[in-house]
């Protein structure tokens, strides 16, 4: 059955970069119903396209851009897409999500997803316009920053084009490279490196095909009700719009969960200097939104301090304030915002960049790295100068960057004695919540399908900020594990419908369910069935990782979290009690003791049908 006018474009574009050939495939309805789109669809395409054991930087690793049925419609905050590929950072699957306008434009151009295969010998960019795709030479922009690339292409092709590009970091295939579009980024897991390995500099897309839905009148009404739900919730109508994700920073610090100096403690003495309230009063000049979004969490900062004067940057957001701020002991917002800007220009993930610098600063403190090895940088805790210098060296791949640009795990393999300070899970640097102060996050990081990620089982809002009634951050019982699973399932649903996670701070899965039905015509019957779709996607991505050789022993955390008690704050003395949580997690998910989904689970989630 046709999927057009049911939210979908109904087509998947496959392009071979070596041969320059394109193929348009019909999106199968069964797959759409079982996986929706976005993360679900992308993971399926990855599983089917990538050969087992593929080297992530080899031509055989596909790079997939995926949207969902809600993308480009009036569903709140539906201006997103995701990039799915095998990660060079971790070796697991990776879905990296991004806002802006690129996702909807891809749908208007007639495609639900694009699968990029093989690699080009010369730098190219992909031009997609209303159902047609072709490769264009990109020598003129190879080597340029993401911003320059985007500006140049849009000037040459037309301002209606939306451009996603990599920066010099991605061109060098650094595992912390991301893909940027319109100041937003698909940052984590090395998507930019995969794109760089293919010599694909950018994708430019423009489209004018309307997106139709199954029942226009009902869909519009449900979208209005969903927007109303967001208007009636403090977090989505006031706190996020006013302070962005920095809205939680003081609370996280209060609960002793704000990682400071490479996760040595959970309390940052200068937290107030980098809080949302301070930023609102000092640097932020404008609130901006991604397509279709009323939450407008993005803020433009206009920098005033001498070295950075004139810089305008989208940010800094919570994760950046942690990684390039508290985690490095830095309380200087202008320096943090400036390094955020550098990361955008060079095309690298701010979380990983900051964590690499924090790691470096700890090694410097402990004498494992010297000034000479860091290209002369005096990498002291809290030094804005060191922060900027190191970020720049990573972006350019020179000086200290020669070592640092390869990420924490890689660095630790090269530096004897550095392992205890290397904080990553499966190679992906740990994000901004101290897991010893929130047990659920410890579980989330350990079992996440793409390594150390907070955006899978996001329990921090409940454990530390009291959302949804709150939960005891120190508990590691079955209730906590169930909370993590519920959050992970819900996230997988919005990642596959593709709407922004932040909508769930104001509305619930029920509102998502009530939009999906009139959009796609799929009758799931109940909100629970939709949540089940999320569980299906999580077990599907698990199957990919299992195929690529991941086992229970990989679902673990750095020793710092498992063995070193937190020295201060409300969670003083705590370590992460991981084992019992992982065990309960596997049981509740229907996976065996090695973390492999059982055949009953695969059958009941219909994954056996999907993967056959």
């Amino acid at each position: 059955m046709q999927l057009e006018n049911r939210g979908y474009a109904g087509a998947v574009l496959r392009i071979n970069l070596k041969l320059g050939r394109t193929k348009v495939e019909q999106l199968e309805e069964d797959i759409a119903r079982l996986l929706l789109g976005g993360k679900g669809l992308g993971s399926y395409l990855l599983y089917k396209t990538a050969p087992k054991g593929v080297d992530p930087l080899s031509p055989q690793n596909p790079l997939i851009f995926a949207t969902g049925p809600l993308t480009g419609t009036l569903a709140p905050s539906s201006g997103r897409f995701c990039v799915v590929t095998k990660s060079p950072t971790t070796g697991t699957m990776n879905d990296s999500h991004c806002g802006g306008f690129f996702g909807p434009e891809l749908k208007y151009a007639g495609f639900d997803a694009v699968v990029i295969e093989d690699s080009s010998d010369e730098p190219v960019y992909l031009l997609i316009k209303n159902g047609e795709a072709e490769l264009q030479p990109a020598n003129g922009v190879w080597g340029k920053t993401t911003v320059e690339t985007e500006t140049t292409l849009r000037k040459n092709l037309g301002e209606e084009y939306r451009v996603a590009s990599i920066g010099p970091c991605g061109e060098r295939c650094s595992p912390i490279a991301g893909i940027l579009t319109d100041m937003r980024s698909a940052g984590r897991g090395g998507t930019g490196a995969v794109m760089g390995s293919k010599k694909l500099k950018a994708i430019a897309v423009k489209g004018s095909k309307p997106v139709g839905v199954h029942n226009q009148g009902k869909f519009e009404k449900m979208a209005w009700i969903a927007q109303r739900a967001l208007r009636m919730n403090e977090t989505t109508v006031r706190s996020l719009p006013e302070y962005g994700t920095a809205n939680i920073l003081m609370m996280i610090n209060q609960t002793g969960a704000l990682p400071t100096r490479n996760f040595q403690t959970g309390r940052f003495p200068e937290a107030e200097k980098i809080s949302g309230e301070t930023l609102r009063d000092t640097l932020w000049v404008r609130d901006i939104a991604c397509m279709g979004c009323t939450i407008k969490c993005s803020k433009i900062a206009a920098l005033k301090a001498e070295p950075y004067l004139g810089t305008k940057v989208d940010g800094p957001d919570y994760e950046t304030l942690f990684s390039l701020g508290s985690n490095c002991g830095v309380g200087d917002t202008e320096a943090i915002a400036y390094t955020n800007h550098l990361c955008d220009l060079y095309g690298m993930d701010t979380i990983s960049t900051g964590c690499i610098i924090a790691f470096t600063m700890e090694l410097y403190e402990k004498g494992i790295l010297t000034r000479k090895e860091l290209g002369g940088v005096d990498a002291k805790w809290g030094s804005p100068g060191a922060l900027v210098a190191l970020t720049e060296s990573i972006g350019k791949g020179v000086g200290a960057g020669n070592l640092l640009q390869w990420g924490v795990r890689n660095m630790s393999e090269r530096l004897p004695g550095s392992e205890p300070f290397a904080l990553h899970v499966k190679g992906l640097e740990v994000p901004g919540y101290e897991p010893r102060a929130a047990q659920g996050m410890g579980l989330g990081y350990a079992v996440s399908d793409r390594g150390g990620c907070h955006l899978r089982a996001y329990t921090a809002g409940t454990e530390l900020c009291g959302y949804g009634g709150g939960a005891d951050p120190k508990a590691y019982d079955q209730g906590k594990v169930q909370l993590a699973i519920d959050r992970e399932d819900e996230k997988a649903v919005v990642d596959s419908a593709v709407i922004c996670f932040f909508t769930l701070f104001g509305m619930r899965l029920k509102e998502v369910y009530q939009m999906i039905e009139p959009c796609t015509g799929f009758n799931y019957g109940s909100v629970r069935e939709l949540k089940n779709l999320g569980a299906r996607v999580v077990s599907l991505t698990r199957m990919f990782n299992v195929r690529e050789g991941f086992e229970r022993k990989d679902d673990t955390l750095p020793k710092r979290f498992l063995e070193n008690p937190l020295p201060d704050g409300p969670a003083k003395g705590e370590v992460v009690h991981l084992e019992p949580m992982v065990q309960a997690y596997y049981e509740l998910r229907g996976w065996d003791e090695n973390g492999v989904p059982t055949s009953e689970t695969l059958k009941s989630l219909q994954i056996d049908k999907i993967l056959k």
């Binding site: 009036l74 095909k209 997106v211 939680i248 901006i288 209730g479 819900e490 029920k510």
Partner: protein, 409 residues
């Protein structure tokens, strides 16, 4: 109950003013006596107060036309989330008054919470015991019990919220509640199930402040459609610039059968769009709703307005300004101003597809439909612009057109 839910229509408009008890002196309750004096002018059917305030402000309830008094019989820290002073870390609830205390204050009913969703089953049992004990006291004294069941606790998820809300409502009804105060589930369908499950009168909770009067009234309207017996509004009323007027608006819908639009009395007649560029967040919802309203699906490329990007931190909506240049430029008189509502209208039969109108538009908001060979021109949605309605930052606002001496065309 008849003092609260007025017999002719069995419905009630209740104002909750017990927030100070649980949250401290938040906006709207600092000068509670002053605020409530104004609220009373709007003639709500009942007002809910904590025991302390019920005693202090007892005089507000004197007289035949005065509202009925409802007393909050329990206290909880459940709503002190991180946005309030001293956020609660674990949820607790305690009784603070008995039925006989409410009676001696002259109350018409007591109101208590019932929480469901804790991971500790003993806590759930405690919650039930407390509710049951209130029910027994009330039975003995012949005092109605209004229960406010809420999903609350670690086991509440996005997926089970509506089901939990319904279950809690039913349990409260079975335990002996005489009426229910329930969170509106967000749409008519799910709320109807909740009302059916209750079997006793259900009043909806206003909850967090509705951002617009329209949202607040729409919710009342939908809830009534789903079978609710009335509404309990708290902060919307207390924080409103004109509390009495707000109550009157709600009464119009609940007791006088008016529609939301009738009460809102929106701009009618010839309208124009006023743009506030500094408010624009470039979300482009205006472009999406434009094509959707005109039956074109979602297609910003075909919208009758657009968001212009002027720089990293500068955007503005560009809309039809009713300048009439397109009308002047049309060689076949296919375009004209609507005689009463003064928007640009197209007569497709006269159009020859020359695209002169597209060229003539000084702000370039006239587009062209290649397939049908017709221009796409803003028609102010025939008097009720969708963009003005959906633009949440209010960067686009619908206004009445000023008086004109004669037609521009």
């Amino acid at each position: 109950m008849s003092k609260i839910l007025d017999p002719p229509d069995g419905r009630g408009v209740v104002v909750a003013a017990d927030h100070g008890f649980m949250l401290g002196s938040i906006e709207g309750v600092e000068d509670l006596e002053g605020t409530l004096s104004r609220v009373v002018e709007g003639r709500p059917d009942a007002i809910l107060l904590s025991p302390g305030q019920a005693a202090r402000l007892n005089h507000l309830f004197r007289g035949r036309d005065a509202p009925a008094l409802l007393v909050r019989a329990d206290w909880t820290n459940a709503f002190r989330d991180k946005t309030y002073t001293l956020p609660a870390r674990t949820v607790h609830r305690r009784a603070v008054a008995e039925a006989r205390d409410a009676i001696s204050l002259g109350a018409s009913a007591i109101v208590t919470y019932y929480f469901m969703g804790h991971s500790d089953d003993e806590r759930e049992a405690q919650n039930l015991r407390l509710m049951a004990s209130f029910a027994r006291q009330c039975d003995k004294m012949g005092l109605p019990l209004i229960v406010e069941p809420l999903p609350m606790g670690e086991r509440v998820t996005g997926a089970n919220f509506a089901d939990l809300a319904t279950a809690a409502v039913r349990i409260a009804a079975e335990a002996g509640a005489d009426a229910i105060k329930a969170v509106y589930t967000g749409d008519v369908e799910t709320f109807s199930s909740l009302v059916k499950a209750a079997g006793i009168p259900v009043l909806i909770l206003g909850g967090a402040k509705a951002k617009t009067l329209r949202d607040a009234l729409e919710i009342v309207d939908e809830a009534l459609e789903a079978g609710a017996a009335g509404v309990v509004y708290g902060r919307q009323v207390l924080q409103a610039s004109d509390p009495a007027q707000f109550v009157r608006s709600v009464r119009a819908i609940v007791h006088e059968g008016k529609t939301v639009l009738q009460v809102l009395n929106p701009v009618t007649g010839p309208v124009r769009l006023r743009v506030f560029p500094e408010r624009c967040t470039r979300c482009r919802v205006c472009e999406l709703i434009c094509t959707s309203t005109h039956g074109q699906g979602f297609s910003p490329a075909a919208a009758r307005l657009r968001v212009e990007f002027l720089g990293v931190d500068s955007y503005k909506p560009v809309t039809c300004t009713l300048c009439g240049q397109c009308i002047k430029a049309c060689p076949t008189d296919a375009l004209s101003f609507h005689p009463e509502l003064h928007y640009v209208q197209l007569n497709p039969e006269r159009c020859n597809g020359c695209m002169d109108c597209v060229q003539a538009c000084p702000v370039k908001v006239v587009r062209f439909d290649e397939q049908r060979s017709l221009p796409i021109i803003c028609d102010m949605c025939r008097g009720a612009p969708s963009c003005g309605l959906w633009c949440q930052p209010e960067a686009i606002v619908t206004e009445r057109q000023k008086e004109r001496k004669n037609d521009a065309a």
